[in-house]
């Protein structure tokens, strides 16, 4: 296995750094149901890490543990070299972890621009008094953050719909706006929950390109859940495979593809 302190070099020549996030023996129960059972894995700086598995394997629960919606009953979450105490989702966001949702979770009543601007809320701290009078820091902050948001909007090629209310957009664009909102926060770790669900081939290609570009240009570490195996194998550096709440495989796409437990989970095992 890999050394914890140093990184490795991917086949396409990118240098991957040390461990950014580490899950240690996570167990998550809902009453009597065990959603995640004793799972450990790590996510390294600059890496694209995929979590795959059949339906109900506990992938989304795992993402929810990382983003603070659930606090596991057992196990530890380590982020950037420190053990993380139980946190609320908004505190996790302030640590630099952003995410998108499987079912789009945009603010339907606001325009695309306002939605992406909400991604900057962790960076905006001018007081309510300054804002009430639109004085000094409030205005400056708004303009600075707007400039940053415009860069993200350019990057994801959604300039033309900037002032459109999100409710009017088609599905594929909504997914992209959601990614824009997450990116606007300049996250250190970006969690994507099925970024390509329900897309056609072209939209999937666009989205894959954006994910690679984000990783490449901003150096953002990405953890994603995806069902399209072709996409997962092409995009990710390392893959965790889950089944019934347990980890059954972990490694590069090639290693995982040859793993007998993984093949059994996906194709089934003959009972003889």
């Amino acid at each position: 296995m890999l050394d914890a302190s140093e990184g490795y070099v991917t086949p396409d020549g990118r240098q991957i750094g040390g461990v950014m996030m580490e899950m240690r023996n996570i167990t998550l129960r809902f009453g009597g149901v065990v959603a995640i059972k004793d799972i450990s894995f790590d996510i390294r700086e600059g890496e694209i890490r995929a979590i795959i598995g059949p339906n109900g394997a506990g992938k989304s629960s795992m993402l929810n543990v990382i983003s603070g919606f659930y606090n596991p009953q057992e196990g530890e979450v380590w982020f950037r070299g420190a053990k993380r105490p139980p946190m609320k989702p908004f505190q996790v966001a302030r640590q630099g972890i952003a995410r998108t949702f499987q079912n789009i979770a945009l603010f339907e009543g606001m325009t695309v621009l306002d939605n992406v601007m909400t991604g900057r809320l962790t960076q905006m701290r001018s007081s309510i008094w300054a804002q009430a009078l639109w004085w000094g820091s409030a205005e400056r902050e708004e303009t600075e953050n707007r400039a940053h948001v415009e860069r993200v909007i350019d990057f994801l090629e959604i300039q033309s719909i900037r002032k459109t209310p999100v409710g009017r957009l088609p599905y594929g664009l909504k997914k992209r706006v959601e990614l824009a909102r997450a990116l606007a926060a300049e996250p250190k770790l970006l969690l994507l929950d099925e970024p390509m669900a329900g897309m056609n081939v072209e939209e999937k290609e666009d989205m894959s390109r954006f994910i690679l570009d984000v990783n490449d240009e901003f150096g953002t570490t990405i953890a994603l859940i995806e069902h399209d195996m072709g996409v997962v194998m092409d995009l990710s550096d390392r893959v965790v495979v889950m089944d019934y709440g347990k980890k059954i495989g972990d490694g590069t796409p090639d290693e995982v593809r040859k793993n007998q437990a993984v093949i059994d989970a996906y194709l089934g095992v003959a009972h003889d």
Binding site: K88, G109, T118, L133, R146
Partner: protein
């Protein structure tokens, strides 16, 4: 043709973020301000002020306040009447305790007191949502009215249980009391309306407003992008109650002069202000004005046409008036569920292309 963006280029984000990005809108706004400040005060009389301008201006403030809570932050409240009562009684206690301080401070301070009370009654919103929260705020409404009725300290042990506004001045001009001139009370309210609308607009276009709207549209997603629901919801309650408190203080001290809490600030008042923002448009400052205008002007207009022009008996006209106003509300809501503000927005979108829509 005048109404368009073409040729009016924005070269900075600051320009793009201004309240009226279209030139025509900007000049229209200045014109309205100028007429309101420089023309109206010289031509109005007591009837116009008491029947139309004061209720319109004061209800506008209340509607802006409630709109921040319901329209922007998505927390339903039926306690508006109660919070207006807090503003009124706060203002009364301050006016009688510190007679030498000018009335403007009393009104603003009354808003501050209401903000604190609003935060207290907003605490349940952290746990409950929607209809259940509405019921919790309804409890605030009944409790506050009961409190002001039963505890004599609030009405300074007066025999009637009423409170009446003593004479107070601002810069040597009477603002409250029987000797106030029409233009003075009008201007006083207008300035406060302007201040409230300006602050509300500033708050809703910045990060505070985005936090509120994020909570309104999807609270789970709001949390994941770093919005603390506790501070977002409570700040909405505070700001909303601040405005509602100011409107309550004005309603009592400038408009009515003497109130009995159950009559002036009962549950009907809560519903009236809620109707205003629903008809005017949730989540819109302009909608608050439009709704207040609709609910204040419609009855006056109908009464004048029915009794004045058509010569109907007063009692019959009063009944018909209720039916017509009710019918109009229903019609409006069916035609445009997002209120007058949405109609206004659509008109503007059409105007932008007129007369060559292709």
């Amino acid at each position: 043709m005048l109404y368009r963006e073409a040729g009016d280029f924005k070269t900075s984000y600051k320009d793009d973020a201004q309240t009226f990005p279209i030139k025509f809108d900007r000049y229209r706004y200045y014109a309205v301000l100028l007429v309101g400040l420089a023309v109206v005060p010289f031509v109005i009389n007591d009837y116009w002020v008491n029947a139309i301008f004061l209720p319109f201006l004061i209800y506008s403030i209340a509607a802006i306040g409630l709109n921040i809570l319901v329209g922007y932050c998505g927390q339903v409240s039926l306690g508006t009447g109660g919070f207006m009562a807090v503003g009124a009684y706060g203002c009364y206690k301050l006016m009688t305790a510190f007679p030498e301080v000018n009335i403007l401070f009393h009104v603003i301070a009354a808003g501050g007191i209401t903000a604190i009370v609003g935060v207290l009654f907003g605490l349940p919103s952290l746990r409950i949502k929607g209809f259940y929260l509405a019921v919790a705020t309804l409890a605030a409404q009944f409790f506050l009215v009961w409190l002001f009725n039963r505890v004599p300290w609030f009405y300074n042990y007066s025999a009637s249980g009423q409170i009446s506004a003593p004479e107070r001045t601002l810069l040597g001009v009477n603002i409250t009391g029987p000797n106030t001139e029409a233009w003075a009370s009008y201007l006083f309210c207008l300035v406060l309306v302007f201040f409230c609308a300006w602050v509300a607009r500033n708050l809703t276009r910045g990060s505070v407003g985005r936090r509120w709207m994020a909570i309104r549209d999807m609270d789970i997603a709001a949390e994941i992008i770093g919005v603390n629901p506790l501070t977002a919801k409570l700040s909405a309650f505070a700001v909303s109650s601040f405005f509602v408190g100011i409107s309550g203080a004005l309603f009592f001290s400038v408009y009515l002069g003497a109130v009995e809490v159950g009559e002036a600030f009962g549950i009907q008042k809560s519903f009236l202000v809620l109707f205003m923002i629903i008809i005017g448009g949730l989540g819109s400052i302009f909608g608050s004005f439009a709704g207040a205008a609709f609910m204040v002007l419609m009855p006056v207009l109908l009464k004048n046409t029915l009794v004045g022009t058509l010569g109907w008996p007063t009692d019959l006209a009063a009944h018909i008036e209720f039916m017509i106003v009710g019918g109009l509300i229903v019609t409006f809501l069916i035609a445009e569920p997002h209120g007058l503000a949405q109609l206004w927005r659509l008109t503007k979108e059409k105007l932008r292309l007129w007369p060559f829509p292709y």
